[in-house]
Symmetry: C2
Subunit: 383 residues, 2 copies
C-alpha cells in the first residue's frame, strides 16, 4: 500500500490539525477527530489526541529534569464501543513527541481489517509501518486491547488467564534531594512497601542517598542506576554494599551497550540485575540472556501489551526475571501496564502518582499493592 | 496439599474404575464420572474417560508399528457449559497410557479454583502436580480452553487474536510401502498440497521412497527422519540431495540428544531443520536455538495450548521457525492443535485422517488447507 493511499484526505487534515496544535497552548486533553462517523458502525474508527501532564514536583533522573510531561492518546471505536489507550512521551525516547507520534498514528489504515479481534495481524501491520515509534504504538495497542476486552465484557487480565490477586507491590520512586526533603518524601511514601532510588550520580551522593533513606525506613529498597556506573569491579562492589543495606535488585548499572561486563557482574552478583535501557523489545532477549537476571518491561519501549505478553512467555523459556515499569503517564497507561503485573516479580508503576492532573481512574495502589478492578477491558474510567 | 487430601474417596473410586476398565474390552468411548453433580453449578467439575482409535491402515514409523491407538479424554463442566479435551497416547510417550493418564488426572483438585478463567494458575498447578504426563495435561488444557471459549462465546483463535485465514496447508504422511502402494497412496492424497515422508530406514530405502513419490507427483515433500541418521556429513549430503528433489524441510535427522552436530548441520543446511524428538517443551528452546531452524510443537509433548502459545512467542524472540504436528488422535485433539496453526510455518495435522472411528467434527481440510469454523471454544461437535 502506498503512503499516498494510506494518508487519505481526512487523515492529512487531522495530521495538520495536530501539528498546528503544537503551536498554540496545549490543553489537558485535546481531541482531533479522524474518520469520524456517527452511529454504531461495524468498521474501526481511530481518533488521536494528546495530553499534557503536570508534575507535582520537578522530576530529576540522571540526565533529565522536567516539570511537565506529554502523552499521546488513541481511541478506537467499533460497533458503538470505544477503547482507549495512552503512551507517555518521555524525552529519552528520542524523536517521539506529540507531533511525530500523531503523524505516525495517522499512517494507520484500519479499513483493511474487518474486526478488532484480528489483534495479531493488526498490531503486526502497525509495527511494520515504520521502525521505532513504540510510544504511539503502545497507545494504539492499549486502545485495541481495551476495545476487545469491552466487546467481550471481561477485564484483560481475565482474558489472558491471569489472577489479579497475584500482582506485586509497586515501588515508589524518590529522587535525589536534600536530606530533609528525602526524609519528608519517605514519610509521604507511607502506604508503599518498597522504595525505589535513582543512583548513578557519583560515589558519595549514591551512598548518601541510600544511607539517608535507610536511616529513615527499614522498607526494602530497589535501585535504578540509569547506566550511571562504569567499571565492572566498582559495580560488583556497590552491589555487595547495597545488599548489606537491604536492597532487593539493581537496575541497569552500566551503559546500555555493555553486555560482556554485565555478564561478568551478573554471574557474581548477590542481587538480581535488571536490564532497562539495554532492553527495549522482545528480540533483545536472547542477547541479554546471561547478561542480566531479568528485564524491565515498559509498554512504551516494547510497543504495548501484546509484545509484553510475548516477553513474559520468553522470560519463562529463558528463566529470566520480570519487572514492569512506566514513565510519567496518566492512570490510563499505568493501568494498561498493571494488567501484566500478575506475572511480574517486581513492579514500578508510580508514574501517575507524580502528576497533579490525572484524568483517569483505573488500577489503584491499596496498601502498596497494585489493585485491579473488575471492569471490562483496561478497566479505566475518565474522571 | 497432601496426596491423601487430593485423592478423595470419589476420585480413588474413579481411578479404580479406570484401572478395571483396562482389563475388560475397551469401548470406543467410556466415561468415568468424577465429582459428578447435576445442575448449573458455579464450581468446576471434571470427568475423565478414554477412547480407542481404529487405524485405517497399520501405521509404520521408525521403531513402531500399530493398528490401534488410544487417547485420554477430559470434560470440564462449569455453569452448565462443558469443555472437551483429548490427548493422544502414542507408545513413544513412554509410561503414558490410559491407566497412568487417568491416575494423573484424578489427582487434580479443581475445588481450590473459583473460576475457569484463572487458566494461568490452574495449568501451572496441574503441571506442577507431577513431572511428565504431558498427554493427559494436554487433554486437560484443551478442555479448559474449550470451556473458556464457550463461556465467552468466541473461537479460541479469536480470543488469541489470530486470523483463521492464515492457517497453512497440512501435509499428509505416507509411510514406507511397496512401490505400487506408494503410488496408490499418492493418488489418494490428491486434495493435499504437501506430502510427508518418514525416512531414516536405510540409505537405499530412503532414496527409493523419495524417488518413487517424486516420480508420482511434483507436490512439495517434507521429510521426517525420526532420528534415523547418524553421521553429520551424511546428514548434510542427504539434505542437499533432498533439496534437489523438491523437499521443503527436514525433521529430526539425528538422535534427539545430538545438539552440537546438529548445529554444525543447521549452519550449513540448504533446508530448514526442525526439531521433533529433541524438542518437548518451552524450556528446551534456548538449548535448541542455533541447533535447529525450528521446532515441531505437539500438544501432547508440551502439555497443551497455553504452553504452545508461549512457544510461539519465544520462537519470535529467538527467530525460529514453527510447525505443529500431532499423533494419531481424533478430531478433538487435532482441532485443538489447529487453533495455533495461523501462527505456524508448517503443519502436519493428519492424525485423525488415519482413523476410521473419529467421533468428532471440528477443523476440516479444505483443498489441503487447515480450515477452522466459527463455533466457540475449540469448535468441535460430537458426531
Amino acid at each position: 500500500m502506498s503512503n499516498l493511499s494510506r494518508r487519505n484526505f481526512l487523515k492529512s487534515t487531522a495530521a495538520l490539525a495536530a501539528t498546528g496544535a503544537l503551536i498554540g497552548p496545549l490543553a489537558a486533553c485535546k481531541n482531533f477527530n479522524v474518520n469520524t462517523k456517527s452511529g454504531h458502525s461495524k468498521v474501526m474508527k481511530m481518533r488521536v489526541s494528546s495530553q499534557e501532564l503536570e508534575l507535582k514536583h520537578t522530576f530529576n533522573i540522571t540526565g533529565f529534569s522536567r516539570d511537565v510531561a506529554y502523552a499521546i492518546l488513541v481511541e478506537i471505536e467499533y460497533d458503538g464501543v470505544i477503547g482507549y489507550g495512552e503512551g507517555g512521551l518521555p524525552p529519552y525516547m528520542i524523536g517521539q513527541n506529540i507531533e511525530t507520534a500523531t503523524a505516525f498514528l495517522n499512517k494507520i489504515d484500519l479499513a483493511q481489517f474487518s474486526s478488532p479481534f484480528q489483534i495479531d495481524e493488526i498490531l503486526t501491520y502497525v509495527d511494520g509501518i515504520e521502525p521505532g515509534f513504540t510510544c504511539p504504538k503502545s497507545a494504539f495497542d492499549g486502545a485495541l486491547h481495551d476495545l476487545v476486552g469491552k466487546l467481550l465484557d471481561k477485564p484483560l487480565y481475565t482474558l489472558w488467564g491471569y489472577n489479579k490477586e497475584n500482582t506485586p507491590n509497586t515501588s515508589l520512586s524518590i529522587g535525589f534531594d536534600t536530606e530533609e526533603m528525602i526524609r519528608q518524601k519517605v514519610e509521604e511514601a507511607l502506604p508503599y512497601k518498597i522504595i525505589k532510588l535513582k543512583l548513578g550520580v557519583d560515589h558519595d551522593t549514591d551512598r548518601l542517598l541510600v544511607n539517608t533513606v535507610r536511616s529513615a525506613t527499614d522498607k526494602p529498597i530497589v535501585v535504578d542506576v540509569n547506566q550511571g556506573w562504569e567499571d565492572k569491579h566498582y559495580v560488583l562492589e556497590m552491589i555487595h554494599w547495597l545488599k548489606e543495606k537491604g536492597v532487593v535488585f539493581v537496575e541497569q548499572p552500566m551503559h546500555k551497550s555493555i553486555i560482556d561486563d554485565m555478564a561478568w557482574v551478573t554471574e557474581r552478583s548477590p542481587l538480581p540485575t535488571i536490564a532497562d535501557e539495554s532492553f527495549q523489545r522482545l528480540t533483545d532477549m536472547p542477547r541479554l540472556h546471561g547478561a542480566f537476571h531479568g528485564v524491565n518491561i515498559k509498554l512504551i519501549k516494547c510497543g504495548g501489551l501484546r509484545e509484553a505478553n510475548k516477553i513474559i512467555a520468553t522470560a519463562e523459556a529463558l528463566g529470566m526475571k520480570l519487572m514492569v515499569g512506566s514513565t510519567i503517564e496518566s492512570g490510563l497507561a499505568i493501568t494498561a501496564a498493571a494488567h501484566i503485573a500478575p506475572k511480574m516479580d517486581y513492579a514500578d508503576l508510580d508514574g501517575n502518582l507524580l502528576i497533579s492532573n490525572d484524568g483517569y481512574k483505573g488500577m489503584e495502589i491499596v496498601n502498596g499493592k497494585i489493585t485491579l478492578n473488575d471492569l471490562p477491558g483496561l478497566g479505566v474510567t475518565k474522571i
